[in-house]
């Protein structure tokens, strides 16, 4: 037996059963055409496509830094869960009445199980010899239905999300502030504002209270808002003496000044690195 380079092979390595050859779709080698050697000609072209793809991919990566939300807090009852986009179709499906509550098994097991199960064994369901989509309308129709349903559910789910509110979950949305709990204004804040604006003045998307860090108002305007409300905030949320109102406004302003000061320090630190 000859060994090493130039070794002779009796058959092509793509072994085919001679008898079944007529029953299966013809192999490409049956079609004479302009074939090209994989090594090195075609591989070079593949590398070029890969390089172009990589450039586009890196542009995406550079333009959109990956998101990071605030550290997991199991006690955060106001958080609205949202999966990654490729699970949104399932998330949306579970909102329908026939696939939720008592019937949740239909949404979590039956429908996805049937769809993915059928996908898995598709070759054994669609056994005919025809390959053209138009010649096998049932398979083509069911697949189109599945794809359209998935895209539609994903779209519906994305539409239902308030993306501006979700931006508040991001780690960048929380300014680094240390709340001075000794401040007399903090106690006033705790009693009057905290339920909607949060323990760190970070706001609370569930109750609609915005962050109080980074707001432009001066002392008088803050006092006015606390008493008379603004936008969706109702009037008379503040209950207390005029002195407490003064302390509250000063406290909120002091936190804002601290956040602004720290923000600048943070930036200069990064620059000096």
């Amino acid at each position: 037996m000859q060994r090493g380079k130039g070794m002779k092979f009796v058959e092509d390595s793509r072994v085919l059963d001679k008898e079944s050859r007529n029953k299966i779709p013809k192999d490409y080698s049956e079609y004479p055409g302009r074939t090209e050697a994989f090594w090195p000609n075609f591989l070079l072209k593949e590398w070029l496509v890969g390089a172009v793809f990589l450039i586009g991919f890196l542009c995406l990566v550079a333009a959109h830094p990956s998101p990071l939300e605030q550290q997991a807090d199991p006690n955060n009852a106001s958080y609205i869960p949202l999966p990654d986009w490729y699970f949104l179709f399932l998330y949306e499906l579970l909102k329908y009445e026939f696939a939720a509550g008592d019937y949740v098994v239909i949404g979590t097991v039956v429908i996805p199980g049937l769809a993915f199960g059928a996908l898995l064994i598709a070759p054994f369901l669609d056994r005919g010899p025809e390959r053209r989509p138009s010649k096998r309308p049932i398979a083509t129709g069911l697949m189109l239905l599945g794809v359209i349903a998935t895209i539609w559910l994903t779209y519906e789910s994305v539409e239902a999300v308030n993306w501006e509110d979700r931006a508040n979950y991001s780690v960048e949305a929380v300014p680094d502030v240390e709340i001075d709990e000794e401040d007399p204004g903090y106690e006033v804040y705790q009693n009057n504002c905290m339920s909607c604006h949060g323990g760190q003045l970070e706001g609370n998307p569930a109750s609609g209270g915005p962050s109080l860090v980074g707001i432009p108002h001066g002392k008088e305007a803050l006092k006015d808002i606390a008493v008379n409300g603004v936008g969706e905030m109702p009037a008379n949320m503040f209950e207390g003496t005029d002195e407490e109102l003064d302390q509250l406004a000063e406290f909120i302003i002091s936190v804002n000044e601290q956040a602004n000061g720290e923000g600048e320090e943070g930036e200069s630190e990064e620059e000096s690195e």
């Binding site: 779709p25 490409y28 049956e30 079609y31 072209k45 990566v61 990956s66 989509p133």
Partner: protein, 224 residues
């Protein structure tokens, strides 16, 4: 010099047939975009593999900084994201690659389906391919718990509730994934890390190996 080295190894291990099986074949005209531009649909499988390689490499670098426990996980990701040189790029590649690989594998699946390329004799390769799709979704699901931010925590809780709703085995399934029938916590993070970094990649490599061996043995399907 290289030739001598090759001959030396070849004389002992007979590697030429291996090389022949891997690379020495003709690419047919109908899959070559240089001849028919519409043949670009045949690129999606290769691009899926390409992004998978990006995921493996970027993931290997991420584990150099990532700490899989609930106290440090989020801090380590934040540190990587904001302090480590090029950490943002590497994490970005892994984050966006997870999305792009799903898109590519989806397009590849559609191409194979609508061309009827899964028909005899390629049924097994289709089954392996769909299993690869499931493994990819599993990697996506276990991967986004790891940063331990609110999105991760609450989405995982929902995912575990879905697992729990499975009849008969739901409770056990949830316990197997989360490490506890009730708590989503330290054990859950450790398990998801193990699944994401060891179990599923092992399944991925085995299935990809089978996928590629079958392609090489059967060749690509003929034109429609």
């Amino acid at each position: 010099m290289l030739h001598k080295l090759y001959d030396w190894i070849d004389e002992r291990l007979d590697i030429t047939p291996i090389w022949r099986d891997i690379a020495d074949h003709e690419v047919p005209e109908h899959v070559n975009p240089a001849h028919h531009f519409s043949a670009f649909v045949y690129c999606f499988g290769g691009l899926t593999f390409f992004v998978t390689v990006i995921q493996i490499l970027s993931g290997m670098f991420l584990t150099m900084y990532y700490v899989p426990d609930i106290v440090n996980a989020w801090e380590s990701v934040k540190y990587l994201q904001t302090q480590v040189a090029h950490g943002q790029i590497v994490r970005g590649m892994h984050h966006w690659g997870a999305s792009v690989v799903i898109v590519m594998i989806f397009l590849h699946t559609l191409r194979v389906f609508f061309q009827g390329a899964y028909k005899k004799p390629r049924e097994l390769n289709w089954v392996v391919g769909v299993l690869l799709f499931f493994v990819m979704l599993g990697l996506g699901f276990t991967g986004y718990l790891l940063p331990w931010d609110n999105k991760a925590f609450f989405a995982t809780q929902v995912g575990l509730e879905i697992a729990e709703s499975v009849p008969y085995i739901g409770g056990d399934l949830k316990t197997l994934l989360a490490g506890d029938p009730e708590i989503v916590g330290a054990k859950t993070l450790a398990r998801f890390f193990a699944i994401h970094v060891f179990f599923l990649p092992a399944a991925l490599f085995a299935l990809m190996g089978a996928h590629f061996i079958m392609i090489r043995r059967q060749g690509i399907s003929g034109p429609l």
